[in-house]
């Protein structure tokens, strides 16, 4: 068994270098495809994080009567926090509301109209941030029935629109990733098949001198695995070099935090290695099979 392994590995190594041109061509193809795959994986991860960020922004705002007692407000606040799907509930006083309003106008370059006001027309409010945007409707309804609540801005429409868009984007991202994955699968298997095809004679001769299927198959499979491994490592090397700009891009564009970045890097490394090894191995297995079945 050990001898068989040693033999297969040695043969794989020799096979790789004796057809160096072809092997390197296959490796280069593998690398490019893995870069493509990793790129899309990263984009997809960024997209998901970005969408989550957007969804977390969904909040239900209940304006409170000016005469609402602080105790009741606090009680309502605590009841809301106990609801499933609610992430946080913040109390915003009348003064705070006005300050924020001024800030917003300024940020948008609008005229500061508040200076023409005699008194503060804004209401204190409870801002309910949601962990799950789907509960927005329910929370809105419940708040409307509260005595101390003056009005709740109807955001159901908005929530629906956000959810539709994010779901479409999620699906589109997954579809694109699957399509890219299939392209990668096809191209890599195809390249390996062409490389094996060029060595059909070798397989034929091995069969004729009495090599068992295992002795024919495994060197090729290891060679494919080797191509895959090399491709993965080169890909990871390239990604490593590009890690900083990628990280900045993800942070700026999709608001992925450094913490999440670490786990994304780990995921990508795993995906690239698994895809490289898997494709190389399976590709050569399939390619050799054609000859062994005859």
């Amino acid at each position: 068994m050990l001898r068989f392994l040693a033999f297969s590995l040695r043969r794989a190594w020799q096979g790789f270098w004796r057809n160096a041109l072809m092997s390197l061509a296959a490796t280069a193809t593998m690398t490019l495809m893995l870069v493509l795959l990793a790129g899309f994986w990263i984009l997809q991860a960024g997209l998901l994080a970005g969408l989550e960020f957007v969804e977390q922004k969904v909040e239900v705002v209940a304006d409170l009567r000016d005469d609402a007692p602080a105790a009741e407000i606090d009680a309502l606040r605590r009841r809301l926090l106990a609801e499933p799907g609610v992430r946080s509930v913040d109390y915003v006083s009348k003064e705070e509301a006005l300050a924020r309003f001024r800030e917003r106008l300024a940020a948008q370059g609008e005229e500061d109209l508040t200076r023409y006001l005699d008194e503060n027309p804004l209401r204190a409010s409870l801002e309910v941030k949601l962990a799950d945007p789907r509960v927005a409707g329910e929370i809105t309804d419940r708040l409307r029935n509260e005595r101390i609540v003056e009005s709740v801005i109807d955001i159901e429409n908005l929530v629906d629109r956000v959810l539709t868009v994010t779901n479409i984007l999620r699906m589109a991202g997954a579809v694109v990733l699957v399509v890219v994955g299939l392209i990668v699968l096809f191209i890599v298997v195809n390249t390996i098949r062409l490389a094996v095809l060029a060595r059909a004679d070798e397989i034929e001769i091995m069969r004729l001198v009495g090599a068992s299927d295992a002795f024919i198959r495994w060197p090729f499979v290891f060679e494919g695995a080797f191509v895959g491994l090399l491709g993965s490592l080169v890909t990871l090397g390239l990604l490593g070099l590009a890690a900083e700009p990628i990280g900045r891009f993800l942070f700026d564009f999709f608001r992925i935090l450094p913490l999440q970045l670490g786990s994304l890097a780990r995921d990508v490394a795993i995906v690239v290695l698994a895809a490289g090894l898997g494709l190389g191995t399976v590709g050569s297995w399939i390619s050799v099979r054609t000859y062994l079945l005859r």
Binding site: R3, E202, I205, M206, A211, D213
Partner: protein
């Protein structure tokens, strides 16, 4: 190329056919190769062998002769299961070749040393590697490979060319490489398809001497050849094919000019 059916072979095959008995009688020497009523028709409709009956006892040295296209290589391909018979049965060293499960085929081929008419060398391996290859792929321990390879290379006179690629060899050297590969694993049966076609008479004779010596050690040899001189000089068993039929089977035959 007239049909000259020698009475001897006709009677024997007839008897065999009547008794329908592919296995040897007790007391008869064990037949290493036994074809029973074999017909081979290729998918394109060309029939290369017709009703062939043949038994080669252990230790025999048999020349297979016959004109180009008579079916010699086809017969050899049946023995190593490179092709399957359309009809009839083929036994090699006790294995029912036609009915052998696929995964047993390597076992069969390892018992045989085969010299192919077109050499079938790996173009990207040197002479030494080509010969060693036959041992490696059948799982021989590494340390036993080197000495065995060196020995057969010396035997066929290729020690100096050991590190050349087939494309850097003369035709005769390629053929000797093929012979070395067939001998390297000490097979009990050697099947050689035209092993001297590209050799000058001197080396051809040396190769034949080599096969004879190996035969004397008890190894059975089946050799397809057009080399009339050798066949006639040695007076060994000659099986002659013509248009797919055995037309002559003589224990001490010669090469007739209509073969």
């Amino acid at each position: 190329m007239t049909m000259t059916i020698s009475p001897g072979s006709g009677v024997r095959s007839l008897k065999d056919r009547l008794l329908g008995r592919p296995l040897p009688l007790p007391g008869e020497p064990r037949a290493v190769v036994r074809l029973h009523d074999v017909t081979k028709t290729y998918p394109n409709g060309r029939t290369a062998l017709r009703d062939v009956d043949l038994a080669i006892p252990e230790g025999d040295f048999v020349f297979l002769v016959g004109p180009s296209g008579a079916g010699k290589s086809t017969l050899i391909k049946l023995l190593i299961r490179d092709e399957l018979p359309s009809h009839g049965s083929v036994f090699v060293d006790g294995l029912d070749v036609a009915r052998l499960p696929r995964r047993e085929v390597p076992k069969l081929r390892r018992r045989i040393g085969i010299v192919f008419q077109d050499f079938k060398l790996l173009p990207r391996k040197t002479v030494r590697e080509n010969v060693a290859f036959a041992l490696e792929v059948t799982g021989t321990p590494g340390r036993r490979i080197r000495p065995a390879v060196d020995r057969v290379l010396a035997l066929v006179g290729l020690t100096n060319q050991a590190d050349q690629l087939p494309s850097q060899l003369s035709g005769g050297e390629q053929q000797r490489t093929a012979i070395a590969r067939a001998l390297v694993h000490d097979p009990r049966l050697i099947i050689a398809d035209e092993p001297t076609g590209n050799l000058d008479p001197l080396i051809a004779w040396e190769i034949i001497q080599l096969l004879l010596r190996i035969n004397e050690l008890g190894v059975t040899v089946l050799m397809a050849t057009h080399n009339a001189e050798v066949v006639t000089a040695l007076r060994r068993r000659v099986v002659a094919l013509e248009e797919g039929r055995i037309v002559r089977d003589e224990p001490r035959g010669a090469y007739h000019h209509d073969d």
